[in-house]
């Protein structure tokens, strides 16, 4: 077993060797510009890009003609949200999203607010799930767009996308789905779910970094104002030379994900359950964040009461995980996602996110579980809060010094 062990697959995934193999020729001999229509170098690049469009679109049940290449999901999200609200500004200026969205959505929405849009940030339930009826209730005759992530990047909760899509379609409102975490991991069909725009990223599905896609529905047609002007590439929606090796890798990654999804999700889920059982079996006062059932197979987000997340990560130095605590930031505020789920602030500071993926093994899981149990015990022995709790002191009764 090699260390360090990678268990942060929500942040990024390693490149699948099969993806690299597919990309290699497009870095060397087939180096053409896909926009060069006058010679075989350009034709080869264009053909590869078109094949990749089909593969990426197929993953979500769309057509290759509906794919706009971008630099990643953040750019796709910016293009979707700004592009739609700009193009349809005569129709309305109201956008609906959720409090647990990725910063790429939340920060874009805050910018939209500064430029005159009205944004509703919906609450979620304690498992981080959005109620479709809350979406319905928030829609007004000025609403142009609803944007909801398919699966949350921190707690793995999967939203009822199909139900939300039925509502947005009924109301004639555009529906954008940030599918960066979900695509390739859970079945997601843009037609069944009535999605109008979907943001995707290659590096979350064992593809290369720096390449993403915005899927934009053609029937009924969805139009948007491009953000980057230039050569009019991507039907004017996103100018710029196509990252051909990147999109070829994305296509291959999507193709593998689609082919192996069923088998892989079962395997990853078994690993996640094994990790969870061993940790929860070895420790008391461990709490699951996110939805117990509707969640990504590779996601395990746990709060270890009385042990601060950053301190915990330092103890797990040979394991790459992440924390919803905010000890590294100046704000001292823990994850907005955990807070939106109503997780108490003290517990939110104790959360660790394990992200399992294609290349994790049982051996790694067993090692990490053992390490977590051992280190949590050690840190609890060092924690004044654990001692106080054991002594029967109600931590809420203490007047803590504000700082």
């Amino acid at each position: 077993m090699k260390t360090p062990i990678y268990m942060d697959n929500h942040a990024t995934t390693p490149l699948d060797p099969r993806v690299l193999e597919a990309m290699m020729p497009y870095l060397t001999e087939h180096f053409g510009n896909a926009a060069s229509r006058s010679h075989p170098f350009g034709w080869a690049a264009e053909e590869a890009s078109e094949q990749a469009r089909e593969r990426v679109a197929a993953l979500i049940g769309g057509s290759g003609k509906e794919i706009v290449w971008t630099s990643g999901a953040t750019e796709s999200i910016n293009l979707a949200l700004k592009g739609i609200t700009e193009f349809y500004k005569d129709r309305g200026n109201h956008v609906i999203t959720a409090k647990t969205e990725h910063k790429a959505v939340l920060d874009t929405c805050k910018r939209l607010e500064r430029s005159g849009c009205e944004v509703t940030f919906l609450d979620v339930d304690k498992h981080g799930r959005l109620d479709p009826e809350a979406v319905r209730a928030a829609i007004t005759d000025r609403t142009v767009l609803v944007s909801v992530m398919a699966a949350n990047n921190e707690i793995g909760t999967i939203h009822p996308i199909r139900e939300i899509g039925a509502i947005t379609r009924e109301k004639g409102v555009f529906f954008h789905v940030d599918a960066a975490q979900a695509a390739g991991k859970v079945a997601l069909d843009v037609n069944e779910c009535n999605i109008d725009l979907a943001s995707l990223s290659a590096h979350k599905m064992y593809g290369p970094k720096g390449v993403g896609a915005l899927w934009v529905r053609r029937r009924p047609r969805v139009r948007l104002t491009g953000l980057i002007d230039g050569g009019g590439h991507e039907r004017g929606m996103r100018s710029g030379t196509i990252n051909v090796p990147g999109v070829v890798g994305f296509g291959m990654a999507a193709e593998i994900a689609q082919r192996e999804m069923v088998e892989e999700s079962a395997r990853v889920r078994a690993l996640r359950d094994r990790l969870q059982q061993q940790i929860v079996g070895g420790l008391d006062m461990v709490y699951l964040n996110g939805h117990p059932e509707h969640r990504l197979d590779g996601n395990l987000n746990l709060s270890f009461a009385f042990v601060e997340g950053e301190g915990m990560m330092m103890a797990l130095k040979d394991v790459a995980v992440s924390s919803g605590s905010a000890c590294t930031s100046a704000s001292l505020e823990p994850s907005h996602v955990l807070r939106a789920c109503g997780v108490e602030e003290d517990l939110a500071h104790t959360s660790i996110r394990f992200g399992l993926g294609r290349f994790n093994t049982e051996e790694e899981v067993d090692h990490v579980a053992k390490l977590v149990v051992e280190k949590v015990k050690r840190l609890r022995d060092m924690s004044p809060l654990y001692e106080m709790a054991k002594d029967g002191i109600d931590l809420k009764s203490i007047e803590w010094s504000a700082h």
Binding site: E308, E310, C327, E344, M382, S383, W400, S401
Partner: protein, 127 residues
């Protein structure tokens, strides 16, 4: 963020972890921070009748820098008079541990813990 060797050393081999008897009139207890902010330090000092700190123990809920800061101050205060200990500044702690700017907060907490422990001792003694 990469931690300095000194932070790692104090984190992996924390000095003086534990508790002193809170009821002992010669023990001052300082509890600072808040669980909701992600860090709580408890520093306890046993102070001789000559005003010299004989023993120090800590327990900390927090990140590596918070644990290291509290471990370091337990070493620093031992053998010092309470007046000398009260002069330990957060900047000295931050400098010793090479804390990055975002972790200065941990050293402030450690300074506050010393002051709080001394204040508790003085209150007990009625001085």
């Amino acid at each position: 963020m990469a931690y300095s060797d000194k932070v790692v050393d104090h984190y992996e081999n924390p000095r003086n972890v534990g508790s002193l008897d809170k009821a002992d009139p010669n023990v001052g207890t300082g509890l600072v921070g808040a669980p909701a902010c992600g860090d709580v330090m408890r520093l306890q000092l046993r102070i001789g009748d000559d005003g010299v700190i004989e023993d120090a123990k800590f327990k900390t809920f927090g990140c590596g820098s918070a644990i290291a800061s509290s471990s370091l101050v337990t070493e620093w205060v031992k053998g010092k008079s309470i007046e000398e200990a009260a002069k330990i500044t957060n900047s000295a702690i931050a400098e010793e541990l090479s804390l990055p700017p975002v972790k200065i907060h941990c050293s402030v907490l450690a300074e506050d813990a010393i002051k709080a422990a001394i204040a508790d001792y003085k209150q007990k003694k009625g001085v």
